[in-house]
């Protein structure tokens, strides 16, 4: 009897922990639809997007689920998912959706939302890579692979993780091979237009120097 009661209790807390379907209204759906122009309401969960996706096996929320979760308003689950960072923007999903739902564009939009949210990215290295790329771009106007990797390794935690996983050794070996083949440009080129690019970025985000 006692066991049964415990079981009932845990089942009840499971229910409480579960998202209740349909209790959030459709404002998140309307917001994402409005911002992306993707007709997310047309999705009938055929899973063709997920079947076409080359990396769906590595995602915690599969592409068709992304669309469903938006309909249900599960914003945090989506922004905290690995999906928004693992997605390659390869556009397979959008191309093969029978209802022309812009799945890739939607996931890309969620990635931007996640960037501007306070939710910790599930794939921190991928998130910091994009950020570093833009920083390097604003530094030189063009992106130099050698400097990009260097800047990335200086970001907090990146080097430590790479040493632990052995990725750093692989990276150095590859770097050496590329240098031997003459494919590593060590001195970056600085664009004359770089000031304009920086100013553009700053003005839009209303930062002052």
């Amino acid at each position: 009897m006692h066991d049964n009661a415990a079981h009932r209790r845990s089942a009840r807390s499971d229910v409480n922990r579960r998202h209740r379907i349909g209790d959030r209204g459709d404002h998140f759906l309307r917001r994402v639809e409005g911002e992306t122009g993707a007709n997310l309401s047309a999705c009938y969960q055929c899973e063709r997007c997920t079947n076409a996706c080359p990396v769906s096996a590595f995602m915690d929320v599969k592409p068709h689920q992304v669309i469903r979760y938006i309909q249900l308003g599960w914003r945090e689950t989506l922004l905290a998912s690995s999906t928004v960072w693992v997605c390659l923007s390869c556009e397979m999903c959008t191309t093969y959706c029978p209802n022309e739902v812009g799945v890739a564009e939607t996931i890309n939009h969620l990635r931007k939302m996640a960037t501007h949210s306070t939710i910790r990215p599930k794939e921190p290295h991928l998130a910091v890579f994009h950020q570093t790329f833009l920083e390097e771009l604003q530094r030189f106007g063009r992106v130099n692979e050698f400097w990009l990797m260097g800047a990335l390794n200086l970001k907090p935690g990146v080097l430590k993780d790479k040493i632990r996983s052995g990725a750093l050794r692989q990276e150095i070996e590859l770097g050496y091979t590329l240098w031997r083949l003459g494919k590593l440009k060590l001195i970056p080129h600085r664009c004359k237009a770089v000031r304009g690019i920086r100013a553009l970025y700053r003005n839009r985000y209303a930062e002052k120097d």
């Binding site: 931007k112 794939e123 994009h130 590859l174």
Partner: protein
Amino acid sequence: MKLAFYPGCSLEGMARDYADSIDAVFRSLEIGLVEIDDWSCCGATAAHSLSEMMAVALPARNIAAAEKMGLDVVVPCANCFNRMRFSQAMIRKGIFDVPWSVTGKTRIHDMTRFLSRDDMIEKIRRRLLRPLSGLKLISYYGCQMVRPPRITGFTDYENPQTLDRLAAAAGADVLDWSYKTTCCGASIGIGRRDIQEALTRKLLAKAVRTGADAIVVSCPLCQSNLDSIQADAGGRKLPIFYFTEVLRLALTRVGRSQRWLRTHIADPVPLLRARRLLP
């Protein structure tokens, strides 16, 4: 004939060899490429992922510069091409505010598509110096060049033909395979090497099963992914050619040093010797 040329950042570094071979091929076809003055980065996936404004504005700057030159633009890198076409589509809507005067009317060509026009193929055929007969090639397009079709303008995005036509024009035996537009993993290897390796190895295994001698690509990132994963792999290596290297081989004299052929991790020289395409 003259075209504005937007090389993109890769062609200054990891894809130096691509830049060299483009130069050689266009020289031999007598088409002038004029590099866009002081071009800047297109923003690539990072701008696309993080900032809508940068995704439109960064390529717009280069499009504006090309418009001033009054020439059509030709772009060798698949991602740059995609980003420029995307920006152009947005500019044409007329609602985006960019600080450069730009109309979006200039034509932006993907390099493979430009060179696989009928007149260009004809020109290549006429100038063939060394037909690559016996060399079994498959072509790999990746994602960004063909998808999304409404941006890239490819109508045969499921089974694109531009690289196939070019390799065939160079005299090679072009094989068909089903992974032409399957993603290679792009830059995901930087954060998740496991995913990258899974995707890239699948492509290489399929290429070997298809019976290909080598793969022809046009995207610097695809080339780098497919090539550098073979650094630690033993056994038979599969050379990954830029399509312009294939054309260069067919169109120009190869000197004794063969230096420009020695820039890949999977060295193609043994294969080319075995096929009697090099001394």
